[in-house]
Structure formats: C-alpha cells, structure tokens
C-alpha cells in the first residue's frame, strides 16, 4: 500500500527560479491496485514518482510504502528500500548502453552480495518473464525499441519488487510495442503487483484492469 500525505516539493527554494513541483498532494493506493497518474509534461508526475521511490526528498509531507516511512530515509536505507520494494520503468528505458541484456538486468542485484549462482538464476527468471532470454548477450544499444522495453521490464522485476512504478513507459514505443507493454501490465496486475503508471498516453484508457485514475495538473491533484 502506498500512502502519500501532504506532499510538497519546491525546487530552488528562496531563489528567483523557485518552482513548486508538487503542492500538498495526498492520496492512497491499495495493494494490487493499478493506478494511472495522468497529466501533461511538467505537471509533476515524474517528481511524484521519484519521491515515492525515495529517489528524491520532498520539501514537506510524508510517503508510507508497505508500512515504511520512506520520504526522508537516509540514502543507505532508501536505496535498500528501492532495491527490495520498487521496480522502476523509465520513459527512455535508461539501460546501460554498453552492457548486454543480461548484464543490464543483473545491475540491481550486484550490491546485494548474493552468491553468483543465485544471481544468475534470478536474471534468467526475469528474462523469461519478459520474454527476452534469446537476446541475453546482445548489447543494449543494438536492441529495438520493443526489446529495450522488455529488457527494462526484466530489470524492474529481477529483484522481486512489490511496487512497479512506470514513468511514461510507452512514450518511445510504436503502437505494436505499446500494446505489447499493456499486455505485460495486465499480466503483472494479475500476478499481484501494485502498479502506478504516470502517463498521458490514451492507450491505457481502455485497459479494464485499471482501478483508478488520478489526474494531476500543475502539481495539484484534480477532483
């Protein structure tokens, strides 16, 4: 469960370039809900996701994920939280271009000090889930858009997270791949993940599995 309580984020506070990215946002997402966060670019979606993932600290307010207060965690605990609870899928995939598919997927597991056999097992499993095993040794920059997306999904799943956060996941995909991605989301919802998708793509509108839509504009939640 994700609880966002009175979250505010102000960038460059006290200077001329002050920017209120989020203004006193509050909402709750229950376990296994699939929620769409809709808003145009600059509405604060990415900032919100980053704060939920404890990648960014708010100016005020709190975020509770799976019972933990994560808004102001020190880095060591924030990163552990991200590593065990959150799976992130980015707009531009954000793969490490020089590494292969399997190496990219292994990245979240490396600081965990797992035995090598366990690490390989988890990577293999994630690759199967995302249907990208056949490309395991291909360098990331040589993948097609859809393949990159699948690699990013595998990476997000490899550490068995509870929550999946997606930031404009279909923005760089053609229609076929976008549909494929929607299918993946459907499956993940069925498997019990809590999913939050920040998007302005209408392709998700028809997805029955969507439990709720939260609209955000200028850092505030509408309705």
């Amino acid at each position: 469960m994700i609880e966002v309580k009175n979250l505010t984020k102000i960038f460059n506070e006290g200077s001329e370039a002050t920017f209120h990215a989020l203004k006193n946002i509050s909402f709750t997402i229950r376990d296994n809900e699939l929620v769409l966060l809709k808003g145009v670019s600059g509405s604060g979606k990415s900032t919100l996701l980053a704060i939920i993932a404890s990648l960014l600290k708010p100016s005020s307010g709190d975020v509770v994920v799976e019972g933990r207060h994560v808004a102001k965690l020190p880095d060591l605990h924030a990163s552990k939280f991200r590593a065990t609870t959150i799976g992130f899928i980015f707009q531009s995939f954000n793969l490490l271009d020089h590494l292969s598919v399997s190496e990219n997927i292994a990245v979240p597991l490396i600081p965990m000090k797992l035995p090598k056999t366990e690490l390989i097992r988890r990577v293999e499993h994630a690759m199967e889930l995302a249907n990208i095993s056949h490309k395991r040794d291909t360098t990331a920059k040589n993948l097609s858009g859809g393949e990159k997306q699948r690699c990013a999904i595998a990476r997000a799943l490899v550490n068995t997270p509870k929550v999946i956060l997606c930031d404009e996941p279909t923005a760089n995909l053609d229609l076929d791949n976008a549909h494929a991605f929607v299918e993946v989301i459907r499956r993940l919802k069925q498997e019990g993940y809590t999913i939050l998708i920040a998007t302005h793509d209408t392709i998700f509108d028809t997805l029955q599995e969507v439990d709720r839509t939260i609209a955000i504009e200028n850092g505030e939640i509408l309705q």
Binding site: K57, P58, S59, S60, K72, L73, D75
Partner: protein
Amino acid sequence: MNIFLSNQVLIFLFSETVLYLLALIAFVGTLQILKLWDFQATTPRQYALEKRAFLIVTMIQLILWFKILLLPYFAYTIDKLSLLIPGAMCGAGVIAANPYGNPLLLLKILLLFGIGIWLIVDREDQKAPDYPFFKTKFRFYLLLFVLLTTEYILDIVYFSHISTSDVVQCCSAIFGISGSNRIPFNLNTTSLVAIFYLLYLLTVLLALQRRPWLLFIVSLLFLYFGYQSVVHFFGTYIYQLPTHKCPFCMLQKEYWYVGYLLWSLLFGGVFFGIANAALSVMIHKTSLRLYRLAILFNTFFVILCTAYVLFYLIQNGVWL
C-alpha cells in the same frame, strides 16, 4: 638533512602529507557538519550536508586503510635507515636516535587503534535509519584529527633530527643486559613468561564471558607484558641467541620478516580486546564479533611465539 633524501623517508613523508591533506579537508567538513546538522530538517542544506558526510566518511576510511599500510612501512623505513646511520644495526638504534622516536611510534599505534574504533562506530551508525551516532562519530573525529596533526608534526620533527654523523646505540646496548631496558619489576624470565601466558588465558576467558571493561584492562596489560616477553624471551628464540634482545631486528630479512606478523597479531588482538569498552562508552553497544577476533588474534600470537621456542627445543634439546 641527508635523511630526507632516503627513498623510503621521502615516500613515507609524501604519503603522510597526502593523507594529512585529506584529513584536513575532512576536518573542515566535520566542523561544518557538527555545527549545522539537523536530521529532522528537510531543507536543501541538510540534504547537502548528508551528501557531504559521505565524502568525509569515505576520506576517513581511505586514511585508515593507508595508515594501516603505512605503519609497517614506517617500520621498514626505520630499518632501512639503520644502514645509513653509524652504530645502528636495526631499527632500534634509529628510533632511539632522538627523543621523538618512541613517542612517535606509540602515537602511531594509538592512532591506528583510534581510527579502527571510528570505523566500527561508523558501521554501527549506518545500520540504523536515523544515524544515531552521527554527532558522536564526528566529534570523535575531531579528537582523532588532533592526534593526526600531532603525528604529522612529530614525523617531520623526528626525521629532521636524525643525524647521519652522530653515532647511535645499537639494540644490544639498548635492550641487552647492560642496557637500560631491563625486565620490569625486577622479574626473572620465568615469572615474566608465566605472567604472559596467564594474561593470555585471562583475555580469552574475559572475551568468552563478554566483560568489556575487564578485557580492556587485561588487554592493555597483555600488550605491555606481551611486548616485554617478546623482547626478553621469545625474541631470543627467534634470533637463537640468548643475548639478542631486540623488538626491531626480527623485522629484517634474515628472520623472514616475522616481526611484521608478530607485532600485527599482538596489536590486532589488543585492539579488538579494547574496542568493546570504547564502543560501550561511545555508543552503548558491544559487538560479539570483536570478542571473537580478540581471541583469534591473541591465540595466533601466542602460538607463533610458542612455536619458536618449541622449534628450538625440538631441534636442540635444550633451552637457550
């Protein structure tokens, strides 16, 4: 001034200088942190301070690891200098070349202990989500910095006061029968060795019983009597010469550099022995692992010392 042109001294002092610069930067950062730290605050300044803290911690860790390497290198430098200084056959003479040598050596060992404690506190601090020992560890660093500064100054003063023309005493003069370093309390060798083994057993017992303060006291005693025992008894079996009493000669090639191992084991064992007491004062916690390490190091130390004696006995059938 000739001394400064010895390769080892140059490299040693250069390394110390580089590390001191890092320590200085860490010191300035620490002052800022101590003044402005407020964990509950959500201001950008606090977040910036948290980031700064990473730099300082990383620097201090780097300084520790290099200091651990620099202590044996210091011993090596001193040993090499004995080739240049009239009268010296090993490091003993060089250390005694001026009154700064022995305090410097002691300070280095003390500093190593201090930095070791700091690292343990840091580790504990990072385990909890609210950095409970944050201010403690940085205040402790201020103390360490004072020691680091003293050490650096002493380094320079010590080396610049070594003359290549004045004759120094060699270790047989310093430690031998005619020397000023007799066995303390007018004990004979047998009593000394008996006390040595007794203290060892006591450290093991207290570590198993997990009594940090008693272990602290006994460890310090063990350090003292361990040193004396090595110089006056075990060392003679390493050199296979009853009159050769010197803590430094065993660092040389002829004795397979065993001195480095021997002293490392003793210092390690004593460090782990006293660490829990220091921790209980600073952070009100103790660590089981430290007790175990104390037992491990002290045991290996005692085994090594005893091995030389046994080896000689088996080989020759008599005591020295």
